[in-house]
Amino acid sequence: MANQDQDILLEVKGLKTYFFLDEGTVKAVDGVDFEIRRQQTLCIVGESGCGKSVTARSILQIVDPPGRIVEGEILYHRRNGNTTEVLNLAAMDPRGQEIRAVRGKEISMIFQEPMTSLSPVHTIGNQIMEAILLHMPVSKNEARDTAIDMLRRVGIPKPESRINDYPFQLSGGMRQRAMIAMALVCRPSLLIADEPTTALDVTTQAQILDLMLELQEEMGMAIMLITHDLGVVAEMADDVVVMYLGHAVERGDVDSIFHDPKHPYTRALLRSIPKVGLKARERLDSIRGMVPDPYHRPAGCPFHTRCDEAIPGVCDRIVPPRIPLGDGREVRCLLYTEEYAGER
């Protein structure tokens, strides 16, 4: 276990990120805990609006106002040779020098839509070199060489001429490759990928995911992958966090999540995957109801309104605590407390 502690790269503890709007406060992230281990892949799964992107943005402190981190710690374990220094990213000034030194250098991020996530009026070379020149003491020419090198490694053909292209001159897959090149060019220890393949077609999706795994092996960074696609999770993840309405409802390693899901929400999610061989007239299992309106979060467990196993009078009252199940697994469901275990 001591060895595992050494392996931790990032710890998120009790993170709460709220948006203060005129209509009320949206608790986009309302108490999320997880760890990312070095060189491992953590997948965060959940429906749209469950707070997975905001969690990712909170780590880099790039949540747009009126959103801000109201509580919690984000501990980044920075390795300097043999010593490890622990930084609390959540306590840093979002516009300050400290967090900017982490962004793009030690933790970088790629986004869903590579077309809109790259500036339309700058060449990809310009945008990649900018990241290099910001964080490394190199000349423009060296930065250019590094950028070309990186473009080649992400599989862009003829990088010497492609570097002068504008994003609109590249295909969707190539753009995402350029995005990845930009994110990895300073050799970060963590790459946050916010639905990196959602906007791409299926073949390209597979290529990009393969590329990410390949580069992870080569460069040794950890990946935090945000997705709503359980197929992607199965392919990529070492660890999984399942989110629902701002809560991390369950976490554990990928095998136990898929083979032995605990939380009713995780189980429902897994049941709703279309399977090959489903009979023609059989209906696909789906989770009943809708994600509640963010302004009117249900009291108690946020999932109780859609949960088949909810205990009336209990689940709509008590916010479930984090319940460790051993082996790094954790679930937030009252059914796993001693008191209500009998209801299962």
């Binding site: 996530s117 009026v121 910001l134 504008y166 995005m179 930009m182």
Partner: protein
Amino acid sequence: MLQYIARRLLLMIPTIIAISIVTFIIIQLPPGDYLTSLVASMAETGEEVDQSALETLKARYGLGQPIYVQYFKWAWGIISRGDFGQSFEWNKPVTDLIWERLALTFVLSLSTLLFTWIVAFPIGIYSAVKQYSLGDYVFTFLGFIGLATPNFLLALVLMYISFKYFNQSVGGLFSPQFVEAPWSWAKVADLMKHLWIPMVILGTSGTAGLIRIMRANLLDELHKPYVVTARAKGLPERRLLLKYPVRVALNPFVSTVGWTLPGLVSGSAIVSVVLSLPTTGPLLLRALMSQDMYLAGSFILMLSVLTVIGTLISDILLAWLDPRIRYQ
């Protein structure tokens, strides 16, 4: 890029030809031709009509010949000799009348444009970045007042104030002793001293408008994903702002330059009358009122050509700014 500019230049030719035809038609619209008006006005003032001079003029403009011959003679005169015809009201060639005024108008227009941009840019950016802050509300308020106040009214108010409290005359672009003087450094200095008042007056509504445009454009861009990407790279806020969203927000800004040029030349007529500025506006107004058709026609031709040139400039600027246009 060069190819793009060359193509745009070639496209200008048919446009300008079309404009010249329309202008010529306008010149021909009033009943009677130029000579009839000339003879009539000479007879009115009791001058002797010189038959041989009339014959020369008749040959020069092809009067009495078919309309297309007249058009070609007129157009050829402009192209080969810079001859825009005769102003019968002033009894001078049109060229003598307009060049100096046109030059002064240009100086005034350009300085107004610069003034507008220098003021509007930073304020627009500030208003967008600090949306709904006190400063934003103050500038918005001032902006709407600036938009709503007619320029000529502002001119009158300013003239009154400077006359009453500073005992200074603000009319014209020169002090009385310089009006007829030949060009010298002293005269230029005098021009600079007078220039700022019409510049501010003509600039207010434009500035107010541009502030609103800049603010709206920038607000659209500020939350685009590419801004988040740049922020995630670790770029400092100020550099990020100027390099990415402001740069993209400039596009609609630049594409309006084309309309600004002719707008400044003709739109300032009333203010110029009020301030008695020696610019083109008042002359055009007078030419139109007295049916001095060669003079008026020349103005219309020049304004239209200016519009075309302005559009060309803004298109070139746009292509330079935005690779998506350049590579089409």
